[in-house]
């Protein structure tokens, strides 16, 4: 699909919207259907679409292998970090209410948002990894 200008332009137009939607789904998980996994997969799909249209090498320019690998780990680290912050704040692991952020509800919101972002990051990065590493074998 490297020569088809229509597909290329449409992809370039679509990818940002898909990504915004992905972020929306991650952030919106608390009040509607959605959450880190679903949003993460949507985010990953946007990059996968880009890779399908422009090829692996172009895709790797967008998300380099190094950044991809670091994102894999960072997501889990954010999740674990939120849990450990709760422990440092004097609660149990993942006890968001205890975080010193004003009201307990707000702290709980922020804690959940934090872990959803972590989950989304790992899921998106791993989806891209899975696709690119597998697709590369076809060469």
């Amino acid at each position: 699909m490297k020569d088809n200008i229509i597909i290329q332009i449409i992809t370039r137009l679509l990818v940002p919207f898909i990504q915004v939607f992905g972020f929306y789904v991650i952030m919106h998980g608390e009040s509607g259907p959605g959450g880190g996994f679903q949003g993460g997969v949507i985010l990953g799909a946007s990059i996968i679409l880009y890779v399908i249209v422009f090829g692996i090498d172009e895709g790797r320019k967008l998300v380099s292998e190094k950044i991809n690998d670091i994102c894999n780990s960072t997501g889990v680290l954010i999740y674990g970090g939120v849990g450990i912050l709760c422990m440092i704040a004097g609660g149990k692991f993942l006890e968001y209410n205890i975080l010193p952020l004003g009201s307990a509800h707000f702290a709980s919101h922020m804690g959940m948002l934090g872990i959803e972002i972590g989950v989304g990051m790992t899921v998106a990065a791993v989806m891209v990894t899975l696709f690119i590493e597998t697709a590369r074998q076809g060469k």
């Binding site: 670091i70 709760c86 692991f93």
Partner: protein
């Protein structure tokens, strides 16, 4: 607010965080992967010791994730049983991690070493998580973490057969895990809870429903597949034979033991002992299966040429011993099982580590080629001999203690038939190990060229395991006392 109250979760979080950090940090230097793994497993071992001590002093520890009280939240429980298993497993893992550095450098391509240690630590995380959790669905999640990591680690073997071994393990492992998941679903559907202690309270009223019985059947099949009980063992020999030697040792010494622990949990904590003894008498079936496993494992080990395959079949026999003790379900037999979990982990770990050292130095895996190694690698072979003696069950070695308690348990349960089974199997074990010992010490020097003993980094962990084999044979009171408490807790009396 001391940090020690968080130990039940830290013992899992530390390996996990280290696993996540390895791909980032080892970009700078490859060796960091090993440093981080060793440090994390050492700290986990120390935490486990502290947990066991706390259990001994203060009684059962319960940790509520997110401070949600069970059964609404996930509870982590440490009592005598899993405190003991935790110490055993984390100790063995620590020694194997210490040993791994050189062996991994030789057997894994250089650019994959950091991913290797990441997966290694994830595997460790999965195993430790399975031990500490008190929530049955959380158990499934950790089973899957350790299984997934295990598939990839086995596939890292040098020969292409490793790929097929790993694939078959993946298929059977997934069947097992899905059966366990289905069993969990059945229990949840009938009780509305996922907490193990809560299930124990609510299940007896439902023992005669078909749902609970089917759930039990699926748990049994799934767990038997995971621990490779005799007719379901087909994945194990290939997996152990073709895996990298460190992973062979790790799988043989820890993975099946944790599976056995999970089995004990399901049989005696989630279900009560009455269920397998009286409500549906599957205990008899397990006794028969384990007797067959003990004999067949030893018989099949006799005919093997590859030493790793011989050890793998021997493992199948040893799993039979452990399941036998569980199925007899009295205090002495369960003590025997639990002591054997420790002993077999020490002995098999030690044997696989020696085999790994031989592969590191010479690449030999065939028993016939071991001729004359006794003079070339005297220290490694001495460790091998000690572990082999312990496997046979010679008095004053650890292997004797567990077999003694198993035999006592069999007599107490009125199953005296099992005593000759244990004796015959010991004899067979002596025969198949004699082949190796004979080749090592009493046959000509056919290994040509200059071969010296394994490096110190490999010898120290190997000797630590071999020493423990002797130590726990002479000072048997330590494991005996702890397992006595654990067995009392499980079945009372």
């Amino acid at each position: 607010m001391s940090i020690s109250q968080h130990f039940p979760v830290l013992v899992i979080i530390l390996p996990l965080i280290s696993a996540v950090l390895i791909p980032i940090l080892s970009r700078a230097k490859k060796i960091y992967g090993w440093y981080i793994s060793s440090a994390a497993t050492f700290i986990s071992f120390m935490i486990s010791l502290s947990l066991l001590r706390t259990v001994h002093v203060k009684g059962k520890i319960s940790y509520w994730m997110g401070n949600w009280e069970p059964p609404w939240g996930i509870e982590y429980v440490v009592d005598y049983l899993n405190g003991y298993v935790l110490v055993v497993i984390s100790f063995i893992i620590f020694l194997i991690t210490l040993y791994s550095n050189k062996s991994v450098d030789k057997e894994i391509p250089e650019d994959k070493v950091s991913s290797f240690y990441t997966i290694y630590m994830l595997f460790v995380t999965g195993l430790l998580g399975m031990i500490v959790t008190g929530d049955i669905f959380n158990l499934y999640v950790f089973i899957e973490i350790s299984s997934l990591a295990g598939y990839a680690l086995i596939a890292a073997g040098r020969k292409r057969d490793a790929l097929i071994a790993s694939y078959n393990y993946l298929i059977l492992g997934t069947i097992a895990a899905t059966f366990i998941l289905l069993g969990i679903g059945y229990l949840y559907m009938m009780t509305g809870t996922l907490n193990m202690a809560d299930l124990r309270e609510r299940l007896p009223a439902l023992y005669d429903t078909t749902v609970i019985r089917t759930a039990f059947a699926f748990f049994s099949v799934g767990l038997s597949l995971k621990i490779a009980l005799f007719p379901l063992h087909i994945w194990l020999p290939n997996a152990y034979t073709h895996a990298p030697s460190v992973i062979g040792a790790l799988q043989a010494a820890t993975a099946t033991k944790v599976g056995v622990y999970v089995m004990i949990r399901i049989l005696f904590t989630v279900f009560k002992p009455e269920f397998i003894l009286e409500v549906i008498p599957v205990a008899k079936l397990f006794v028969m299966l384990s007797a067959v496993a003990i004999i067949m494992g030893s018989l099949l080990a006799l005919g093997q040429k590859d030493i790793r395959r011989m050890l793998a079949y021997s493992s199948i026999g040893q799993i039979g011993y452990i399941v036998l003790g569980i199925a007899l379900a009295n205090r002495l037999s369960i003590m025997g099982s639990l002591i054997h979990v420790l002993n077999h982990a020490l002995m098999k770990g030690g044997l696989f580590l020696v085999v790994g050292a031989v592969i590191y130095k010479t690449g030999i895996t065939n028993i016939d080629d071991y001729k004359g190694l006794g003079k070339k690698m005297p220290f490694s072979m001495a460790a091998f001999t000690i572990c082999a003696l312990s496997m046979v069950g010679v008095p004053l070695t650890a292997g004797f203690v567990s077999k003694w308690y198993l035999a006592l348990g069999a007599l107490q349960a009125g199953k005296w038939v099992m005593v000759p089974v244990i004796l015959i199997s010991s004899l067979l074990t002596a025969i198949y190990f004699w082949r190796v010992i004979d080749a090592i010490y009493f046959q000509g020097h056919e290994v040509s060229g200059k071969i010296d003993d394994a490096p110190v980094g490999m010898l120290v962990p190997t000797f630590a395991l071999a020493t423990c084999c002797i130590l726990f044979g002479i000072v048997a009171s330590v494991p005996v006392n702890i397992t006595n408490f654990a067995a009392k807790m499980l079945i009372g009396g």
